[in-house]
Symmetry: C2
Subunit: 354 residues, 2 copies
Amino acid sequence: MGFWAVVPAGGAGTRLWPLSRRDDPKFLHDLTGSGSSLLQQTRARLEPLAGDRVVVVTGAAHADAVRAQLPDAVAARVVAEPSPRDSMAAIGLAAALIERQDPDAVLGSFAADHVVADDAAFAECVRRAAAVAADGWLVTLGVRPTYAATGFGWIHLGEELAGHPGAHAVAQFVEKPDADRAAVYLAGGEHRWNAGMFVARPGVLLDLLADSDPGFAAELRAMAADPSLVGAAWPTLPKIAIDHAVAEPAADAGRVAVVEADFDWEDVGDFAALAGLLPATGPGPRVLGDAALVHAIDSDGVVVPAGGRPVAVVGVPGVVVVDTGDALLVTTVERAQDVKRLVAELGATRPDLL
Amino acid sequence: MGFWAVVPAGGAGTRLWPLSRRDDPKFLHDLTGSGSSLLQQTRARLEPLAGDRVVVVTGAAHADAVRAQLPDAVAARVVAEPSPRDSMAAIGLAAALIERQDPDAVLGSFAADHVVADDAAFAECVRRAAAVAADGWLVTLGVRPTYAATGFGWIHLGEELAGHPGAHAVAQFVEKPDADRAAVYLAGGEHRWNAGMFVARPGVLLDLLADSDPGFAAELRAMAADPSLVGAAWPTLPKIAIDHAVAEPAADAGRVAVVEADFDWEDVGDFAALAGLLPATGPGPRVLGDAALVHAIDSDGVVVPAGGRPVAVVGVPGVVVVDTGDALLVTTVERAQDVKRLVAELGATRPDLL
């Protein structure tokens, strides 16, 4: 069985403005101080599983930047979307391309901008998922929850699968819960976080899509057969997430399995999450970048001196300072979610800054 | 009687870093959004009293910048100190120069970096002080306190002067008090703030200095008579504030009067003070500079977008953001005093930033 990875590289990461921009999205950035971008880390994590069989799907505007960050063999497989059509179109086209090239393959889809702490545990988990997927299941990775998260969807575990110890049927995908509900899920032990990671045979994925939208699946397969169709057909594709297009209806039909993911996973959604990923070097703020530029008194939080200028912080616990060459953000870890609101306002008044 | 103004323009304004720098001190800046620097505002405030009879004393490093901000007739009188020797040397040399040129004059000394809200009330107060000074008193302006300030010295009022209703002898100059003591002074009504503004005949001032340090006074008069002596003699002068050299001993000798100053006065010592001087234009932070650059959600305080870049603030009440071309400060109004501590640390590690 050949394992292929699909890496959707999209999403502006609006809660990471001004570090992440429309024209320079977060997956192109090193957000963990590792020296590699999130995209490069994702590729490296997948290499033991997929070698060069990695299909990155990204917006046409970012295709060159994405290729520049990848080894040639992977760069050659980058698929440029003419326009954003959400994850079903992106992953579906990649699945259709893989189906033609390697019909017996199993593919796994992993976002370009997530962080996983333990690559070996990740690979082991994906191998288990691939074994289940080889039997015709759509498999999702269910991250063991560590707190009552309201920012993710959750997965309700069903029966354990015969022949796949530790894998369960998915009873239901649950939308982002409120805090009370999330606490119940956490305490109950029968729910996992939905990290948006799917593993399936490409034909299984497309056939499941065909069950709910036969025309959509047919279009994707036609484009894979004749890429010259993409330009005209792409803008007509439904704009829908793979969760709604395939995973939820397939779960209702008893076709989705979940494999437990026992590794730390982070979607780096905002600066609070980013702060959590950076190593602490002392009592002061975490620093993404050159720590010698940061001068702090009685402050923690996170400072990103990406503008190359010295940043001094005096007496602001939990502060978030993001200094780029052309824009500056000051907020707190506590209010980091609200950067989304700021970006919405800037979209109306200063779209040039996004 | 000719009235002369002496304007000591010194002091780095360390609690206003990075706006105020060693090489670009606060008196050269427009800190109130008025369109004029503090030095220019000081000169304009003194014009109705002194015309062009204004002697600005500043460090040699700043003399050109100071002259460039002044009309030619005032620029021509700028005195450049070879090195900083504190306020007695600076004001004393100006007094000695004025004494030679206009022996019957009265002079008033007013720092270049203070802000006064009501120029007419200021002029009226200085005229009253000058009338007292003409009778041979060293006169200080006592600002009516509006809160229990611990950041200034206070003046304890003595008896009312015969022939000068409203003017009092100074019973004592009091060092910066602690909060309890300041509250007592405020409640008692017999204390005023010492704003460091002195009015006297130049000969009276120098003779009072001669009472405590005859050599110092003689040196100053010798330099005024022969400016070629300044280079050699200046570095040998005592480094002492006028308060200690003259005002305090003269008060003990019953030679100092105080005239009530009934105008709002601010020494713009830190960013909290600066925030108080800027007009509020809405619920967000006060802005020194281009308000269109500031995007704030749930924040007040003060933002200085002096770097020309957009500054976004999300959910940080009382925040202070000072963005300059080459350094960035983030603190709060509450902690604004501690910028001094930061500057002390930078002095050890990054003196190039000061």
